[in-house]
């Protein structure tokens, strides 16, 4: 079972964090700091797997973003790399050639998409088509119910929200 997934930039900025086991916020920050430092210090040709405490860390870099997962000893490292890849593919397909900014500005979408792929730290749906279908359905629902937003909302904007 995956214990958590972190997305961070080359500068060490955390872009997404998903925890499948409960930790205190303080602990989460500590773990994140530790892993970000550890992974950023590694050289390009090095192995994508590390032992870390009693877990295995699997990471991969896509452009400016590092995707880093902690899995349990009996989990499959290579397939975890492919979970990362599938997630990247999903983001890519949805945003149309995804970049770091997409994830920053649409962070909620990135979380929704991850919940379709993985649930409770296990793979839920590996079919790209099915996940995208689910997300598209969500977007459709949004459009349906968001129609009457109109001027009130624009008003909210101008008052400096």
């Amino acid at each position: 079972m995956m214990q958590f997934m972190l997305l961070f930039s080359r500068q060490g900025k955390l872009r997404l964090q998903k925890w499948y086991v409960a930790h205190q916020d303080k602990m989460k920050k500590k773990i994140t700091r530790e892993l970000v430092t550890l992974v950023l210090a590694r050289k390009p040709k090095m192995c994508s797997f590390l032992e870390w405490k009693d877990l295995k860390v699997v990471y991969k870099r896509y452009a400016s973003l590092y995707f880093c997962c902690a899995i349990e000893p009996e989990d499959n490292e290579l397939l975890t790399l492919e979970i990362i890849h599938r997630y990247v593919e999903l983001l890519d397909k949805y945003f149309g050639s995804v970049c770091e900014l997409d994830i920053i500005f649409n962070f909620e979408k990135a979380y929704f998409m991850l919940d379709e792929l993985l649930l409770g730290g296990e793979v839920q749906e590996t079919s790209k088509k099915n996940v995208l279908k689910a997300i598209a359905a969500q977007d459709l629902l949004q459009e349906e119910c968001d129609e009457p937003k109109g001027f009130l909302e624009e008003l909210g904007l101008t008052t400096g929200s």
């Binding site: 409960a22 040709k45 192995c47 890849h85 945003f95 962070f107 649930l119 296990e122 969500q138």
Partner: protein, 971 residues
């Protein structure tokens, strides 16, 4: 600003842009504080916010939180969003709650209510949102509140596929966090059939849930084996099925395949020959495919393909039954060892470690020794080199030990600091384990100290001393070698310690050579003295006093050193005291006394190498289990010899100063510690606390006064039967019951009537034990002709009992105590009967009791990790090694009480081993004079039925049954 997808929350996008434009951390914080103030006022304001605004503000708060800032409001607004009819508002509400609301939040009740409403709605997208939220938080309260709804969703015929997928994994999360709450009901029997589901996504999700259930109760879900095999076979072997989108870069359903292969690792190889053949076929196909040319050059293709291959190899190793498959697996991994992908080399080294422990593939692994050594020398990534070290360690045996140890020593000179200590431990273990010639072993350890002295932990140099002391054929060589090593102008302090100890014991063996005459030895050691830490100096002082005994001719020189201000007035109290006491000892004592006090150290009791224990503690996963298993299978010469030495030493207990006992403030103390008389003093001369030893003394409750003991045990007043007059061969009433209470404890009241109260205190150490029996006279008259007789019957072969005399009178109101020493020679079943006779007011009284000595007292608890436990468990599978009972609980099934009983039974309580946290697993080592017996215990409570299943396995026949019978009535 990039396009915002879906419904745009422009305000949010603007805010994010603002944050990104902040030039400094301070500006960012300022901007955030402004925003927080704004949101707070909106939430508090009179104007009611519409859903959209609430959503937007909640989303902003979430963003701020994810930036790493604390958020202390907005939770209520988020909870309000949950009951919105608009999907997007609901969705943001759920996201905020999943990320920000801890399981203990006060609002959880409201959240659970909202979840329940959504689960009951007919709208699948709402149901899915609610399920995802439960899976993300997975709190106990949620498990309590939703334990019925979710299983129902999973097996209901109306539920659509995607909801089923979420329900399966949500349920899995709750089973993991609160296994005791989720009811196992009708749904569990239907669950394994989900492996047959049409929808691949459903099978993929369900497979994880099923594996969790299987881990708890393999027997109940046994049917999943054939289902999993046939599903796997349909994916792997058929060439025509189109899995459509579940084919990932030309690899059919890799995720499901891996999950199925993992599921099967919870079972032994299938019994049904048809299923077995089909599984073998699958595994062979997977191995064959690895040889086929890749269908794509993309790394995703090879990763997915190899992920399945490695999982298949894991299953092959797990089944450990088909030599053909094992060797093929090994050859495949051998190819990967030289693959250009670092990831594959890493994984191949790791998997090969496991293969090395199988008897079928151990030889095949050894063929790759050269490649692995090259990897050790040339890999650029330290994590890969680490794997290479692990594999060399695992593949080492008697035939290649010398070469592997040599290579590891060579590598150690340039090894990464991060892995040096572990390497030192591994080299030390291998050298000891496979030493044919102990001179080689001594050389290796001294080399270790020379090359990596800083990383040589105490365990390592303690161990070399233990071994040299226990083996007289190597003592002269060791003395000569350390003498030479000490010649180096700069040598590591650990070398001085080892050198000092060994020369202090065996310097006489090389004193004949004028180049290493007593004076030269002394001067050599003393030349290092001033460079050493106080603890090493203390050790050297002990060496010097030993020299006084070995070499009377240099006594004056040594006395001068002891007398020097630097020692006699040293600010370190330990050194000062040693100097003064040793000086006195050397001046006052006669040669005979000196020779007795300073005699050569007696051999150490044989036990598991403390180095191994240390390595396990350091890195449980890196100690291949198989190596130890093999050790059990073929006991090696040194172990046997050492234990022989131990028994001879027991018959003539020497009194000797232990050079290493640091921190003992007086020489008397040290002398006492050094004498293993009847097991009373610590036989652990080096003070090496292996885990078993440190926990053992805790079972005795210190030196509590007998009176206290009686006070606390007033509940135990057995019906005061009048003592029977005349001859009575049977036990006195109540004796058997009282006796049973001592199975899990050491102290208490054994018997009480109107005349006497008989209490017991006992302590055990490995195969030795002592019982003090306290006879208290409750009357106002003297008891005369008091005598106690122990009848061992057929036990005398198994238990050697030595009974100390007891006075023939017990005064009114007084108490006398009697000591029994008992050594366990081999396993035994019955307890010895003690008959107590005395005259009370002229009437003959007789009481017959069982002396509370039971086999489990000679167990010491053992710690181990889960893979060790299961490897050993499986190794003890013959019927005579196992005893199992299923029985009704006789006392409340309270977890803490059960733990206390197991600990009282002298076994460990191992956490996190059994997949079902309700179960208890324990381990221990039974010490008898003849052998040590490994004990494993598994206790499975069934609270509903108030029943237990108790399984005991032991490495010696009959022992399991004896222990099982002893433990069962305690529960």
């Amino acid at each position: 600003m990039p396009a915002v997808k879906g419904d745009g929350m422009r305000g949010l996008a603007v805010f994010i842009s603002d944050i990104r434009n902040c030039k400094s951390k301070e500006a960012e914080i300022k901007r955030i504080n402004k925003e927080l103030a704004n949101i707070r006022s909106k939430f508090k304001g009179d104007k009611t916010l519409d859903g959209y605004q609430k959503k937007k503000y909640v989303c902003k708060l979430l963003f701020i939180f994810l930036l790493g800032h604390d958020i202390d409001f907005g939770h209520m607004e988020a909870v309000n969003l949950l009951s919105s009819n608009k999907y997007t508002e609901k969705q943001i509400g759920y996201l905020f709650i999943s990320v920000l609301i801890g399981a203990t939040n006060d609002l959880m009740k409201l959240v659970i209510q909202a979840i329940r409403n959504d689960l009951a709605s007919r709208n699948p997208v709402h149901i899915t949102l609610a399920l995802q939220c439960v899976a993300n938080i997975g709190s106990r309260e949620m498990a309590e509140g939703l334990s019925v709804d979710i299983p129902k969703l999973l097996v209901s015929g109306d539920t659509i596929d995607s909801v089923k997928q979420s329900a399966a994994l949500t349920l899995l999360r709750l089973l993991r966090s609160s296994p005791d709450i989720i009811p196992m009901g009708e749904w569990t029997s239907r669950i394994i059939h989900l492996l047959n589901d049409q929808h691949m996504g459903v099978v993929t999700a369900a497979a994880s849930l099923i594996e969790n259930l299987v881990k708890k109760n393999p027997e109940e879900y046994k049917g999943c084996v054939s289902l999993a095999v046939s599903r796997l076979s349909r994916i792997v072997t058929s060439s025509y099925t189109d899995l459509q989108d579940y084919t990932y870069y030309f690899v059919p359903a890799p995720w499901l395949s891996v999950k199925l292969l993992r599921l099967l690792q919870n079972y032994p190889p299938p019994e049904d020959p048809a299923v077995k053949t089909r599984l073998t076929e699958c595994l062979e196909t997977i191995l064959n495919k690895a040889q086929e040319p890749p269908k794509s050059k993309k790394v995703q293709h090879s990763n997915a393909k190899n992920a399945v291959l490695f999982e298949a190899i894991n299953l092959i190793i797990h089944m450990d039954s088909d030599p053909n498959l094992l060797v093929r697996a090994c050859n495949q991994l051998g190819q990967f060892l030289q693959h250009r992908e670092t990831n594959l080399r890493y994984l191949a080294l790791e998997s090969m470690c496991l293969l090395a422990t199988s008897e079928f593939s151990h030889e095949a692994v050894k063929k790759h020794q050269e490649t692995v050594i090259t990897a050790l020398k040339t890999e650029r990534d330290v994590s890969v080199r680490q794997r290479a070290v692990d594999l060399l360690y695992a593949m080492c045996d008697r035939t290649n030990a010398e070469e592997i140890v040599g290579e590891m020593l060579e590598y150690l000179e340039s090894a990464d600091y991060s892995i040096r200590e572990e390497m030192v431990l591994k080299v030390a273990i291998l050298a000891e384990k496979y030493a044919v010639d102990y001179t080689w072993y001594v050389d290796v350890i001294l080399n270790l100290i020379r090359i990596a002295g800083d990383y040589v932990s105490e365990e390592v140099w303690y161990r070399v001393i233990q071994i040299v002391i226990n083996r007289d054929d190597v003592q002269g060589y060791a003395a000569k070698t350390v003498f030479e090593a000490l010649q180096a102008p700069a040598c590591h302090e650990n070398m001085v310690k080892v050198g000092g100890y060994i020369l202090g014991e065996f310097g006489n063996l090389i004193a004949g050579d004028p180049r290493s005459s007593p004076l030269v030895q002394f001067q050599l050691l003393h030349s290092k003295y001033h460079l050493c830490s106080p603890s090493t100096r203390g050790l050297l002082l002990s060496t010097y006093i030993k020299f006084v005994n070995l070499f009377p001719e240099i006594k004056n020189t040594i006395q001068d050193v002891l007398k020097s201000d630097n020692n006699m007035r040293n600010s370190d109290v330990e050194l000062q005291q040693r100097s003064i006491e040793y000086l006195q000892l050397s001046s006052i004592a006669t040669a005979d006394v000196l020779a007795t006090v300073l005699e050569e150290m007696p051999p150490f009791p044989e036990r598991e190498s403390s180095i191994l224990a240390k390595l396990k503690k350091k890195k449980p996963s890196s100690v291949p289990e198989g190596t130890e298993m093999k050790e059990h299978a073929t006991p090696k010469l040194p172990a046997a010899q050492m234990s022989n030495n131990v028994t001879t030493s027991e018959s003539t207990p020497p009194t000797t100063i232990n050079l290493m006992s640091q921190g003992e403030s007086s020489t008397d103390d040290m002398i006492d510690r050094g004498s293993p008389v009847g097991g009373s003093a610590s036989v652990d001369l080096l003070g090496l606390g292996t885990p078993t030893q440190t926990t053992a003394p805790s079972s005795g409750s210190g030196d509590g006064l007998l009176v206290d003991m009686f006070d606390t045990l007033t509940t135990n007043t057995s019906s005061s039967l009048p003592s029977t007059n005349g001859v009575d061969m049977g036990l006195t009433g109540g004796a058997d019951e009282a006796f049973k209470k001592f199975i899990c404890k050491n102290n208490g009241v054994l018997f009480e009537n109107d005349l006497v109260q008989i209490g017991v205190k006992s302590e055990y150490r490995e195969d030795l034990g002592r019982i003090w029996v306290f006879y208290g006279n409750k009357t106002t008259f003297q008891l005369n002709a008091f005598c106690v007789d122990v009848n061992q019957g057929a036990l005398s072969e198994s238990l050697s009992i030595q009974q100390k005399p007891v006075g023939s009178e017990v005064e009114a109101g007084a108490q006398v105590k009697q000591q029994f020493n008992m050594a366990c020679v081999q396993d035994f079943e019955d307890a010895p009967i003690m008959s107590i006779q005395f005259m009370y007011c002229g009437a003959q009284q007789k009481i017959a009791l069982k002396l509370p000595v039971v086999l489990n007292k000679y167990i010491t608890p053992a710690e181990m990790d889960s893979s060790t436990f299961f490897t050993r468990w499986k190794a003890l599978s013959s019927p005579s090694q196992e005893s199992q009972q299923i029985f009704k609980a006789t006392s409340p099934m309270d977890t803490e009480q059960i733990k206390a009983k197991l600990i009282g039974f002298s076994v460990s309580v191992l956490e996190g081993i059994d997949p079902n946290p309700e179960n208890f697993v324990s381990a221990g080592v039974l010490h008898t004079r003849n052998q040590q017996v490994g004990i494993l215990v598994r206790l499975e409570p069934n609270k509903q039925a108030q029943m237990y299943r108790l399984t005991v396995r032991a490495s010696r026949d009959k022992v399991a049954k004896i222990l099982c019978d002893l433990l069962q009535p305690q529960l």
